[in-house]
């Protein structure tokens, strides 16, 4: 059982802060590192895998610093987002080379076992250059698993993987977490993370925005105010009626027509909007959510975390 501890870790490049004072503990089981692109997920994984020195704070594996400690790789398996460039090797040659580099007693057997786990035994004789994205991803995973590591770090492992292989990868990660390994993977898709991870760490703009199980994170995201544009045949009358509703936080008229509405309770608003419109004899022509993008969800979480 291994634990990665990040304690007030920051990483900056000149004036750019990639990771800003993050503290988190990654324990056995599957942890999802969730955040939009550019949030600092790759930087965090680089810090955790010893491929980046923290500018401030510490990153340790079972109490020992990881940076410049090559022995740490005995218990770490890393699946970077970077593409494999060993196109001139076959899948088996790559996994075997990884097993040999770990100094395993029987590298051939270990390579075969890892290839079996990711269901890549059959295409393993082909050159990596001929593989699809999903196959490359699986052979990367086999390379990381070959020494049976206690810690598995994966950077965006589901990117470019087709749905069937994605399900397979997900069940694999769940199984590894259940076996007591410390598995951490990054993603920018909440639905992806909540299917695999019990524990979710949210990072936005290099900051630790939220932490908890998927239920807590989902609630944080759905409880936030939601913005809509409502267009009716009497915008001013509609605005006057809506501001009286407890589920509505604010309204404002749009110069080009329509009403901007900020809603605190989406469920109540969905019930009340048609009733109010009917009572006032107003026809609703259009109802559009304006901030359903993931970025706005994350921005809200950052604000909530302050």
């Amino acid at each position: 059982m291994s634990v990665i501890t990040i304690d007030k870790a920051s990483r900056w490049y000149g004036n750019v802060v990639a990771v800003n004072g993050i503290s988190m503990t990654v324990r056995p089981g599957v942890t999802g590192l969730l955040g939009p692109n550019g949030a600092g997920k790759t930087t965090l994984i680089a810090l955790m895998s010893g491929f980046l020195a923290p500018s401030a704070g510490t990153v340790t594996l079972d109490g020992h610093p990881i940076w410049r400690h090559t022995d740490a790789y005995r218990s770490i398996g890393l699946v970077p987002e970077r593409e494999l460039s060993f196109g001139y090797l076959t899948g088996r040659e790559l996994v075997l080379a990884n097993a040999e580099l770990h100094g395993l007693v029987d590298p051939g057997a270990a390579a075969q076992r890892a290839l079996d786990v990711v269901e890549m035994s059959e295409p393993a004789a082909r050159r990596i250059g001929t593989y699809s994205k999903g196959m490359r991803q699986r052979v990367k995973l086999a390379s990381a698993l070959v020494h049976d590591p206690a810690v598995l770090l994966l950077d965006e492992p589901f990117n470019g993987v087709d749905p069937r292989q994605r399900l397979h990868l997900m069940s694999l990660l769940r199984r590894m977490g259940a076996e007591g390994r410390t598995v951490l993977f990054s993603s920018h898709i909440l639905e992806e993370v909540e299917q695999v991870a019990r524990q979710i760490e949210v990072v936005v703009s290099g900051r630790h925005a939220a932490s908890g199980d998927f239920g807590q994170i989902r609630r944080l995201m759905t409880d936030r105010p939601v913005q809509y544009v409502v267009v009716g045949d009497d915008d001013r009358g509609l605005a006057a009626a809506l501001i009286a509703e407890p589920s509505v936080l604010s309204v404002s008229l749009r110069p080009a027509g329509g009403v901007d509405v900020s809603v605190s309770d989406f469920g109540a608003f969905a019930v009340r909007l048609p009733q109010v419109a009917q009572q006032r004899g107003i026809r609703i022509l259009e109802l559009t959510p304006t901030d359903e993008s993931l970025e706005s969800v994350f921005s809200y979480l950052v604000g909530a975390g302050r």
């Binding site: 997920k41 680089a46 970077p80 090797l89």
Partner: protein
Amino acid sequence: MNRTILRLSRQALLGRRRGIVLVLIPGVLLVLAVVVSALTSDPSVGYEAVANLGFTLALPLVTLLAATAVLGPEVDDGSIVYLLAKPVSRHVIALSKFVVAWAATMVFGALPLFAAGLVLDVGDPRRAAAWGVGAAVAGTAYTALFLGLAAFTRHAVVVGLLFALLWEGVLGSVLDGIRWVAIGAWGREVAAAISSAVPDQSMGLGYAVVAAVVVTVAALWFTGDRLRSFTLRGDE
């Protein structure tokens, strides 16, 4: 040394287009030697020119290609992370990559110079051997230096070319003092000690050998240390 790294580096070196260029450069040198030798009956004619061309151009080029091929692309695209996420000493990785690049330098750099010398004047094998040994000494130091460059910068090929052609080639021929810090000059000094037919660099054999060893060891240590501090950067 690590046998797996040796094997992977050899495949990286020979499995790419660079492998063809590695053969092409000494091939051109040998063809040139054959042409010069066929066109002249006096062995002293053209010998110096071909040897100089081989020493100042072909040797550093071959070494630069070999040293950057075993490390450069992996560092550039970050895929070296797959080798480095292992409990293997970074200095062992550096040494293993050096050995592969060094072997290529010997085969495609030093040996062709010796062969070209024999083609040009089969009656003076000592002179040919002198160029060969000088090239081996310079090639060893070049390999370590260029490997260090490949670990240090993405522009190792450009910096290496500037060093070999501008610093050692152009400036070295104008400014006499540069020979003290020019790997090519150290190799020539070693060659001059073997055959009097090779011009002396007047710096002393001891200095040339020690300087080559110091640069080789220091550059190898530096390469290992750079790999130990290898930083993985995301696309974000």
